[in-house]
């Protein structure tokens, strides 16, 4: 699979290259944009130098001409001649310069002149009978997708709720042969699940996919992010409002509006400050797209000439559409919000056609100063501006006076910044970008308009972020004054498909900063132990009921020192069965197992289960000195949960180009990591950890139905608190700790375990499948001693290899 994918990649790149060369002839690419900018200003300064020289020569010529002619009439005629020549030269120069600039803009707005960031989409939500979902959750999600709640859904993107029934009409999405058309759906809920799913005519529907939520974009270095829309997606009101507010004579003038300039000058003069600009929409478009922001006469001159040229070349409606897609309307960190559609999503969490009158008025008002009128930072000012715009619209007859009054009475209605429907999932996006950069150039990702379909489970992600926030706020940290500095990371994957379902990189998940789930590496502590045991079990050097010494030991190291590991409990002595050593996370027996199997074999097992990185091979590895990122730990436990069959964790499923043509797919692949019998034994042992060992705390936190397996991890001085494990359908990892690596006093069981339990209570629906593969026999033993139990109902069931014959044992394969 991997090789197949690689062989596909060159074809895809070639395709992108081809597209670029095609664009070279037909449209301006982003790459060309900069040289053009340079050319504009370069030429301007050159021509200025030239005209300066000319002026100098002219002046000397005039003085020279004055001396011989003394007659008044001749002097005047000559002057007129000279002035005429000067004007002719100026006009010719302007024309030539105009033609030159015209060549630059000739194809500027043909096709796609913008860098189009790749759009990243979440996993589509599936609706089907039997799914665990509340009516409330579906409504909330539909809001997030920008669906409108109405009394009676009549068009795509609308829904209605009556009691436990939600009716909706899905939007079309996708392209090509797999495009999904709108469907009318009726969803009936009962007892927290979908009871029934029917289509518009009442016929049962087996399953329906909602369109995938847009969760972000991969923006270019320029920081410009935009959603480019077509004329059919522009509300008529927006078009009229822009003309009414920004450029009343837009449909009459030829790119420049001398009357507008005069009016603006008059207004400014009376107001005593610059309150109105005279730039036409065409000029603003030119300025935004081609020119920098310096207010120089040279730039103004070029802008005016280019505006006239553009107006001559392009129909008014196209200029207006380009303007709507081009203009800057806000800032989100280093992301610049361009175009009205993205602005609409950014401020209102809805796409443009879904906006109300007052929302459109707010966006139109923002054109003049997105930062000055920022509705989040300056709500009063923004409200004033919005209502001024509504006034202009009413005065211009665009809307009725009543409508304006009604709209002016509405609240601003902007979403909080960083709210989910702005598509703010930086931790997940960083994984997506990381996966794609292995195959794509950054330019392709940021400018060619790719659509990227990912594995993100948005509903789960939102809930997990909330769980973590709540958990951290209510956390009791023994070794710290407050829990404010405790950080967290969490990863949830679907082992069966390798889907990265949710990922949290810190306590403030909307913050695009350090992604602890991916970039941070911390010692994993006892999370390593299952893999030490796995190495020993898979090589036949250990059985789960092998008795291991719990005496102290010292290990000579290559450095000449000796290493004397401790038990966490500080209790030593005697022998314990291997399964107890793992379930109770005893260090000394684990080190003995590790020494027997060897560091190399443990590392080999980790690699076989999908670890990509080299880790140092010294004995402290047996107690988890290896530093891994939570995402890497998630891969290891995911592979373990599928009984040693490794499916690489992936965030991207498919990449599709701007025309809807698939470029690359990342199908699920399976390889065999370790022996499934040994993997099964370790899984069963981690269930014991939950029922009898360090994971006991889970029992009161999870429904008894939900069988899980898991392991705690705590590092020296309580610097890192880990929990990792899985149910039958998801694997999850939680880390708690601090950025400066200071001790929190939290063990894995005290810190990460409760958070993990909350996450699994939300994410997991399927109990672990405990049915043994062939090659396993189960024996009932007393937990403490591993001695044979009196009956299958007593003690615990320990899975042993079929070839580990136990004549004295009590086989209990049929029961649990």
């Amino acid at each position: 699979m991997v090789t197949r994918r690689r062989s596909k990649a060159p074809g895809k790149k070639a395709l992108l290259r081809k597209k670029k060369t095609r664009k070279n002839t037909s449209r301006k690419t982003p790459a060309q944009k900069k040289p053009l900018k340079k050319r504009v200003s370069g030429k301007t300064s050159a021509s200025r130098k030239k005209s300066k020289k000319k002026r100098v020569r002219r002046r000397t010529g005039r003085r020279a001409a004055r001396r011989p002619t003394r007659s008044a009439g001749g002097w005047r005629r000559k002057l007129l001649q000279r002035v005429g020549v000067v004007f002719a030269v100026l006009i010719a120069g302007t024309l030539l310069y105009g033609f030159y600039l015209d060549a630059g803009i000739r194809n500027a707005f043909v096709g796609q002149p913008w860098e189009r960031p790749a759009r990243v989409f979440a996993q589509p939500v599936e609706l089907y009978a039997g799914r665990n979902l509340q009516a409330q959750e579906l409504q909330q999600y539909l809001h997030q997708l920008g669906y409108d709640r109405v009394a009676q859904p009549s068009q795509p993107g609308e829904f209605a709720t009556t009691g436990m029934v939600v009716r909706l009409i899905t939007r079309s999405w996708g392209a090509g042969s797999r495009a999904a058309a709108p469907v009318a759906v009726e969803v009936r809920f009962a007892d927290g699940t979908i009871k029934e799913l029917r289509d518009g005519r009442g016929a049962p529907l087996p399953v329906i996919q909602l369109e995938p939520q847009l969760v972000g974009s991969i923006i270019p270095a320029s920081g410009q992010d935009r959603v480019v829309i077509g004329a059919d997606q522009v509300p008529g009101l927006l078009r009229e409002a822009l003309v009414a507010v920004e450029d009343r004579r837009f449909f009459q003038h030829h790119g420049l509006d001398p009357r507008g300039i005069a009016r603006a000058a008059w207004v400014n003069l009376r107001a005593g400050n610059i309150s109105q600009g005279g730039s036409t929409i065409t000029q603003q478009l030119i300025k935004s797209h081609f020119l920098d922001n310096r207010r120089t006469w040279r730039r103004k001159y070029a802008e005016a000439l280019m505006a006239v040229a553009l107006d001559a070349r392009m129909p008014k409606e196209r200029i207006l559409l380009a303007y709507i897609n081009e203009i800057y309307l806000g800032q989100d960190g280093r992301r610049a919000i361009h175009g009205f559609d993205l602005a609409s999503r950014f401020y209102f969490g809805r796409s443009l056609p879904q906006l109300e009158i007052q929302d459109i008025a707010l966006l139109v008002g923002l054109v003049r100063g997105p930062s000055f009128y920022d509705p989040r930072r300056h709500p009063q000012r923004a409200l004033q501006r919005r209502n001024d715009v509504l006034g202009i619209l009413a005065a211009g007859g665009v809307i009725s006076a009543e409508a304006a009054t009604r709209a002016a009475g509405q609240p601003l209605g902007v979403t909080r910044q960083g709210q989910r429907n702005n598509g703010n999932y930086p931790a997940f996006l960083s994984v997506v970008t990381g996966q794609l950069l292995r195959e794509y150039d950054r330019d392709d990702l940021t400018s060619t308009g790719l659509s990227i379909y990912t594995t993100l489970n948005v509903m789960l992600q939102n809930d997990i972020e909330q769980i973590i926030r709540r958990a951290l706020d209510g956390l009791d940290v023994p070794d710290m004054p407050s829990s404010a500095d405790v950080q967290a990371a969490a990863v949830v994957v679907v082992p069966e498909t390798g889907d990265l379902a949710a990922i949290v990189g810190g306590r403030n998940p909307g913050f695009d900063g350090f992604n602890r789930a991916v970039t941070m590496r911390r010692p994993i502590g006892s999370l390593i132990k299952p893999f030490v045991f796995l190495a020993a079990l898979s090589t036949g050097q250990l059985e789960l009921d092998t008795l291991l010494s719990n005496e102290r030991l010292s290990v000579p190291l290559d450095t000449g020192d000796t290493w004397e590991p401790d038990n966490y409990s500080q209790q030593y002595g005697g022998e314990v069965p291997a399964y107890r050593a793992l379930a109770e996370s005893l260090n000394l027996p684990t080190v003995r197992v590790g020494l027997q199997v060897g560091v190399k074999n443990v590392i080999t097992i980790l690699k076989q289960l999908g670890l990509q990185r080299d880790i140092p091979g010294y004995p402290a590895l047996f107690l988890g000195a290896a530093e891994l990122a939570p995402l890497e730990v998630a891969q290891l436990f995911s592979s373990l949960s599928t009984r040693g069959f490794v499916t690489p964790v992936r965030a991207v499923k498919e990449v599709v180009d701007a025309d809807g043509v698939p470029l690359s797919r990342y199908p699920l692949t399976v390889s065999r990591g370790v022996n499934e019998v040994a993997a099964y034994q370790v899984i069963a042992n981690l269930q014991l950890a939950v029922s009898h060992g360090t994971g006991r705390g889970l029992q009161k936190r999870l429904h008894e139905y939900l069988e899980v397996a898991g392991k705690t991890g705590t590092t020296n001085d309580y610097r890192d608190s880990w929990f990792a494990g899985f149910s039958g359908d998801v694997a999850g990892v939680v880390w708690l700790g601090t950025d400066d690596n200071s001790p929190t006093g939290l063990t894995g069981a005290r810190g990460a375990l409760p958070v993990w339990a909350d996450i699994m209570a939300r994410a997991a629906t399927v109990p672990l499948d405990t049915r043994a593969p062939s090659g396993i026999q189960k024996y009932a033993v007393y937990y403490d001693s591993a001695g044979p139990a009196a009956s299958c109902a007593h003690g615990v069931l320990i899975p042993l290899r079929a070839d580990s014959h136990r004549p004295e044992g009590l086989r209990c394969d049929g029961n649990q």
Partner: protein, 164 residues
């Protein structure tokens, strides 16, 4: 190769009634009817039974998507078939019948190595289900044959025969 693919959906349909006594692997299916029949047959929730426990077939939405995948596969649209199967896997994760269906798809796609791996993964969850075990080994045999491993194919075919 082909007959197996074509039979598989028919097989799913045939086996559907036999699944009442199957352990529940999906919360949505934890309704009293299923739980009741499970206890009636003396099975525990996780149903370890040495004597040929049946592994639940995909149901409802997952069954629909499996059938849809079969249709795409028959029409030669392997990408759409894989997409449908992955959707089914998300709805019923861990169901070995879905891994087996994916293995069949990979085999007709010409990826016998992946086909064998997926069939082996299904086998690791077959839990003594004779029919599932038999189908998995048959597929492993076909995949090995396609990959040029004649001896391995014979061995797998022998394993399949043992679970008739």
């Amino acid at each position: 190769m082909r007959p197996v693919c074509n039979y598989s959906f028919a097989l799913l349909l045939l086996l559907l009634p036999a699944c009442a006594a199957v352990t529940s692997t999906h919360k949505g299916g934890a309704d009293p009817a299923v739980a009741g029949s499970a206890s009636a047959t003396g099975m525990t929730r996780n149903g370890d039974r040495a004597d040929g426990t049946t592994v639940m077939l995909p149901r409802g939405a997952a069954a629909h998507l499996t059938a849809e995948a079969e249709r795409y596969q028959a029409a030669g649209d392997y990408i759409a078939a894989a997409a449908s199967l992955e959707r089914a896997m998300r709805i019923e994760p861990g169901n070995p019948w879905l891994s087996l269906a994916m293995a069949r798809l990979r085999l007709v796609e010409g990826a016998p190595g992946q086909a064998e791996m997926l069939a082996r993964r299904a086998l690791s969850r077959a839990a003594g289900d004779r029919i599932l075990t038999n189908r998995c080994w048959e597929l492993v045999a076909q995949a090995r044959q396609a990959g040029g491993d004649k001896a391995g194919a014979l061995e797998a075919a022998r394993m399949a025969d043992q679970h008739q």
